[in-house]
């Protein structure tokens, strides 16, 4: 058992500052254990959002020494002996209190996203899909909606005005999931991704992938494939030329 100093940001939308706590820490603990100890022993009203404490629900997102992380998945042995640890709320979203932020941006964006569109000719129980065909989408459905990717993405983190046109990595993997879903009946997923979600704003600098606690390859397996699908529809010069010549209104989609 040893004692360490923690700097925890405390405050709300009207302002705040770091509070320092000297806390005992035990072998094998994670940041969330320490935050709970601060709550139980020093500051019972310290606001923190958490739920399963097993890395499965994605509630306890915060920034530890400046890096976006799940507090329940950040072990104390990551830090050197005696090193002060700084805990701050997610910086991309409005702060509610202390370590809790208002993440409604992400839910609002999810509501703008057209849902799965079931095939008209299949009744429940008649769906047949191969494992290889569902695997790509299944990777994206591992998402626990911790919103660390949304928080880290500089497109909205550093540019508040982009929150309007940009849905963020969480919703890009949703778009990819549905575009790759073997039975989704909609054919406008790529258009929607480019025009409604702001896929073009992403400059694939991969911080979303770096912070994903589920290790989803957000950039390589979702965003870039979606960019490629859009490029195939819109920007491939051969397709573009063909469309000019044959005067087709729309590029053929990869329906097969």
């Amino acid at each position: 058992m040893s004692t360490r100093t923690f700097r925890v940001w405390r405050g709300d939308a009207d302002g705040g500052d770091f509070a320092e706590f000297d806390v005992e820490e035990n072998e094998g603990e994670v940041i969330l254990d320490v935050v709970h100890r601060i709550q139980a022993e020093q500051a019972p009203d310290l606001a923190v959002r958490w739920n399963c404490k097993a890395g499965k629900c994605g509630s306890c997102s915060a920034e530890v020494n400046g890096m976006p992380r799940l507090m329940c998945m950040t072990r104390m042995n990551l830090f050197e002996e005696g090193q002060t640890v700084t805990i701050t709320p997610l910086r991309t979203f409005p702060v509610v209190r202390d370590l809790v932020t208002d993440v409604s941006f992400n839910y609002a964006k999810a509501r703008e996203m057209p849902a799965f569109s079931p095939p008209a000719d299949l009744k429940p129980g008649e769906y047949r899909m191969s494992q290889v065909d569902v695997e790509r989408s299944q990777e994206f459905r591992k998402c626990i909606e911790c919103f660390l990717c949304q928080n880290t993405c500089h497109v909205v983190r550093d540019h508040e005005d982009n929150k309007e046109p940009f849905s963020g990595p969480r919703l890009f993997i949703r778009a990819a999931e549905l575009d790759m879903h073997p039975l989704d009946a909609r054919e406008d997923r790529r258009e929607a991704a480019q025009d409604e979600q702001g896929l073009g704003l992403c400059n694939i600098t991969k911080c979303c992938t770096e912070v994903c606690p589920e290790h989803i390859k957000i950039t390589d397996n979702a965003i870039i494939p979606m960019k490629e699908r859009v490029a195939g529809d819109r920007y491939d010069p051969l397709v573009w030329l063909g469309r000019k010549i044959f005067r087709k209104g729309k590029a053929p989609s990869a329906k097969d």
Partner: protein, 642 residues
């Protein structure tokens, strides 16, 4: 009126109010909205974070995709056996019959289950299920289920928007806790609670309310449950006049992680033992050989040599004692720890590192290897795990009508873990997720029907003022810190009402709990109302308290051992007790316990079992007189008649 003025109570109204946004609540919301009702869903945490996400194994449904012999009758039989025939047979029947439709429906919402070679939903084997039956997505089935329902709700909202609905007909209010139900003349008419973020109060008038709040696991020190599991629905229902049944039946899993503290309670799958892991005490002794009960001696090896041969030659050797039934293993661990041979953190060692190669462990137990590596920084290929029993699930809950999910209070419905009866004395793995879907749907459907027939209720200023005052009381108190009181309650339950129970200890628990009562009444919250976890816990404590008392009382009353209730001083099942449910209600502020007959199975369902099997559970009159017309059988007393 400003939204930010926390002294203004927010007034809302809807047809169907759903408290709880896990699998059952969301499924109920879908059904009620599809029935044309306006719906509000209250979520204690953020939308999509409910405890359902923790479910790993799968959802049991007799689709027969992997083994075509499977059907609802087989599933029904398995469920009744698992529950030691204490189940509400009608619930088990409906559950087995409707689960496949509920799973298939999820596919139309966008769920992507793992597939069989011919493209159907794959199904996996699980303890107690005769055939491969669990629809699954790797080991994250619960996440798939909740995300699918969450996205279905969003799509219904989008449909409403597209249809130009002026008002939101399906509203999700997240991070909100309900502290009180309002009733009038034996019927519910609304609910009162607070927004966690601001501390602002909200009063919602609704003629029909569905409780889907999950379980009570947070009352125990070591639990696989999240902080939300404070028994809110159980307590709200009791305070509104409804009854709870089977509260003594709590499922403990024998091997939860106990160390490091950050992961205490998280499950360690049984496969670790199946693949060669053994249990050792602090002296390094493989102690399970000392705990083989007489009745199991024929099937379990009494020496390490034979036990070790079993892994490669199961036909000519007896099984290792580590693979005894869950309650036996848990009892053994418990006893080792109590006698001072536990690890320093109060568990025993589960050692596979010294028995299998690192490659073998990584290949056979990838998710366990990953879980310990990521969460605990323990390499299970190099060192033993520390494990001990962990509180997992409560079979007991609100007594409901099996077909309608209605409680005894008009307009109040319940579904999921908060309801009781479906699982009897013990739940089979995989039956929880399907339970959520089947009875979530039914609760939504009948709540909508109830709302159609009801007048829009009115809430009075007086009752709202009283509820506000009640909720604010911790700020005016001068008592203890809620975290300390929670620790005290968890310690009592863990020590005295845990996996192995004795009459004397249960009496002690009730005495200690009674002593805690006044301290909880005087619990103090510091700070303001905005996102104040201390205040939140202070309000949750009374719910945890009343559930703890109900459990301890029922556990003391039932002097037999059955399923999730083990009485060391009353081993074995008693057929007389099988006919009896213990019902807890609230009277004059205290918990009152009553006995009530278990509904009698219909002859058709009884006919699904062999008489020899029934004779293990029932008195001869029961299975012998199976031709009795259930409608005239006095023992089928339902709660309305009682």
């Amino acid at each position: 009126m400003s939204d930010n003025d926390i002294n203004d109570v927010e007034h809302l109204a809807c047809d169907v109010l759903i408290i709880g946004a896990g699998g059952a609540g969301l499924r109920a919301a879908v059904e009620a909205r599809l029935a044309g009702k306006s719906v509000i869903v209250i979520s204690k945490s953020l939308f999509g974070k409910a405890h359902t996400v923790m479910a790993e194994g799968g959802a049991a449904a007799a689709m027969g995709n992997v083994n075509a012999n499977d059907n609802w009758q087989v599933h029904f039989r398995d469920t009744m056996r698992g529950g030691k025939f204490l189940n509400n047979y009608r619930m088990a029947e409906l559950h087995a019959q409707e689960a496949p439709d509920r799973i298939w429906e999820l596919e139309t919402y966008g769920a992507l289950f793992d597939r069989t070679a011919d493209g159907k939903i794959s199904q996996r084997n699980f303890g107690g299920h005769e055939y491969p039956r669990l629809a699954h997505v790797g080991d994250r089935t619960g996440l798939e289920l909740i995300r699918t329902l969450q996205q279905k709700l969003v799509s219904l909202q989008q449909d409403d928007e597209a249809a130009g609905e002026a008002e939101e007909r399906l509203r999700i209010i997240d991070e909100t806790t309900i502290t009180e139900l309002f009733t009038d003349g034996g019927a519910v008419k609304g609910a009162f609670g607070y927004r966690r973020g601001t501390g602002r109060f909200t009063a919602i008038a609704a003629p029909a309310i569905v409780l889907a709040t999950g379980g009570i696991g947070r009352s125990f020190k070591v639990t696989s449950n999240s902080w939300e599991y404070t028994g809110d629905g159980h307590a709200l229902a009791m305070r509104a006049g409804a009854s709870l049944i089977n509260m003594e039946f709590i499922q403990f899993h024998p091997t939860g992680m106990v160390w490091p503290p950050s992961v205490r309670g998280i499950l360690v799958t049984e496969s670790v033992r199946g693949d060669g892991g053994v249990l050792k005490n602090s002296e390094g002794k493989r102690f399970m050989f000392d705990y083989i009960p007489e009745v199991f001696k024929a099937q379990y090896a009494d020496n390490p040599e034979e036990a070790d041969r079993w892994y490669t030659d199961p036909d000519n050797n007896r099984r290792p004692p580590e693979l005894l039934p869950r309650d036996e293993v848990a009892r053994a661990i418990n006893s080792e720890v109590k006698e001072g041979r536990g690890t320093e953190h109060g568990g025993v060692y589960l050692d596979i590192a010294s028995r299998r190669s690192a490659d073998y462990i990584r290949e056979r137990l990838p998710s366990m290897h990953h879980q310990f590596k990521e969460l605990a920084d323990v390499d299970i290929t190099a060192e033993p795990m520390e494990v001990g029993p962990t509180c997992h699930y409560i079979m007991g809950g609100i007594e409901v009508d099996p077909d309608t999910a209605a409680s005894s209070v008009a307009g109040l419905f319940a579904a999921g873990e908060v309801s009781g009866g479906m699982h009897g004395s013990n739940r089979l793995g995989g039956n929880s997720l399907s339970d959520l879907l089947v009875f979530g749907k039914r609760a939504g459907e009948y709540a909508a029907a109830h709302a159609s027939a009801a007048e829009p209720p009115k809430l009075t200023d007086e009752e709202i003022a009283a509820a506000s005052e009640d909720a604010l009381r911790p700020f005016g108190n001068d008592g203890e810190n809620p975290f300390a009181l929670q620790d005290a309650m968890q310690a009592i339950n863990g020590r005295l009402v845990g996996i192995i129970r004795r009459a004397g200890e249960l009496e002690e628990a009730l005495t200690e709990l009674a002593a805690l009562k006044s301290r909880i009444d005087n619990v103090t919250a510091a700070g303001g109302r905005a996102y104040n976890p201390g205040w939140h816990l202070a309000l949750d404590l009374r719910n945890m308290y009343v559930c703890s008392v109900a459990t301890a009382m029922a556990a003391l009353e039932r002097d037999e051992s059955r399923g999730g209730h083990t009485r060391e001083d009353a081993p074995g099942m008693n057929p007389e007790w099988r006919k009896t449910n213990l019902v807890a209600t609230l009277a004059d502020g205290g918990v009152r316990l009553a006995r009530q007959p278990v509904p009698t199975m219909t002859p058709e369902l009884l006919g699904l079992f062999e008489t020899t099997e029934l004779s293990k559970y029932m008195t001869p009159e029961e299975y012998g007189s199976s031709t009795t017309d259930p409608s005239t059988d006095p023992s089928t007393t339902t709660v309305e008649d009682a």
